[in-house]
Symmetry: C2
Subunit: 229 residues, 2 copies
């Protein structure tokens, strides 16, 4: 059973601690505000109120035995930094630290921290992508301007088979899978469920409520969307 500690129980730390615990991991949740510790104590194995910049208090929690420690402190960068330095001195196996803005990331990199996260930035960029290109539902950016995107079926392509559309031949795109909405009657009320069609055959016909998930270069994806709007 893996053991994790999460320091700082704001929205970000809380989400990590709760998800890890729900997936069966042993979680030690730490915050210097009593009401945060009270809020989470029934959902995790251990919840402790302490100031993570206090080395003796951290040691007393056997923090170095954790498989990983997440530092999710937000506004107070000094406390975040000091906590991170203490964890490195205690030789914790894996440290994941939150940062906001380029300067904070640079300082943490200089300290030898490899796993740095900026939740706001990561989602901020993803949302901007979706706003700029309304037919893109989500995207996973990859090196060399490749990406994996979920695209709402363009109007021009509804009721056509995948062979007729020719994703690879005409647009240099690779289909991964298809998401389709089904109307289901539950307790007499119509409801919508979304399902994945595994690896679709080339004879599959696209419906207007489908979403296709493709892999390819960003400029090929943009061209595909523009031509078939």
């Amino acid at each position: 059973e893996s053991k994790f500690a999460v320091i700082g129980l704001g929205r970000f730390g809380m989400a990590i601690a709760q998800t890890l615990s729900q997936r069966g991991a042993q979680v030690l949740a730490i915050d210097n505000r009593e009401e945060k510790v009270e809020e989470i104590k029934d959902e995790v194995a251990y919840a402790v109120c302490l100031d993570s910049t206090d080395a003796k208090a951290l040691k007393a929690q056997n923090i170095k035995d954790m498989d990983a420690v997440v530092v999710a402190i937000g506004e107070n960068f000094e406390a975040l930094l000091l906590t991170t330095v203490l964890l490195k001195e205690l030789e914790v196996k894996r440290i994941v630290v939150r940062a906001s803005g380029k300067h904070q990331v640079q300082i943490l990199e200089k300290l030898g921290i490899e796993e740095i996260l900026s939740p706001e930035n990561r989602v901020g960029i993803a949302i901007a992508e979706q706003l700029l290109n309304p037919s893109i539902v989500t995207s996973l950016q990859l090196p060399d301007n490749y990406e994996i995107v979920e695209i709402k079926t363009p109007k021009e392509l509804t009721n056509r088979t995948l062979t007729e559309i020719g994703l690879r031949a005409k647009y240099n795109l690779n289909l991964i899978t298809l998401k389709r909405e089904f109307q289901i009657k539950k307790n007499g009320v119509m409801d919508t469920e979304t399902h994945i069609l595994g690896v679709p055959s080339s004879e599959t016909v696209l419906y207007d409520s489908d979403t296709i998930i493709v892999f390819g270069k960003s400029k090929d994806i943009e061209r595909f969307i523009e031509i078939n709007q």
Copy 2:
């Protein structure tokens, strides 16, 4: 040229406004704190200091002509809610609203808001996945327990070809692409660059620093990682 407004310039709103502007969109950035407006004014088309719960002030900015408006206010849920109600009354085409926690999401859904985002939750869940499964680099969750994941090449599989590994035949997984690290000499100093190998052939050999990107069911992905640790 698309036109967007971003209301609330905390870490989340700032990241969205900056990314949209860098990608060439026209952005109107709004906050009720003067110093936030000062901070962003050189990076966006327009930056205005106003209280977004003031209907007259919002109307004066021609906010209903925007292609989309993002409400990124954080701590003050009342202001977030009132702003959202005003935008719906002004019949803005597309409204994207931030929420933290299930209750806020439920209230916004009752108001007919379709695009609701929780940056901390979204990243919190992704981080928990990566902590629980150290060989998973990133993952895109899909319906029916399918997912697309980046997996570090398991030790057992280095120096073997994709045919020998038999992703589809033995594990029911579909390879999308491969990420490979290359050592490059720049100005006399060794540096690492990561590249995508497009759609690899079945004779491609996996190196220990490669990352494979696959599509399949979560339980098949977990089985693949466990067997080849």
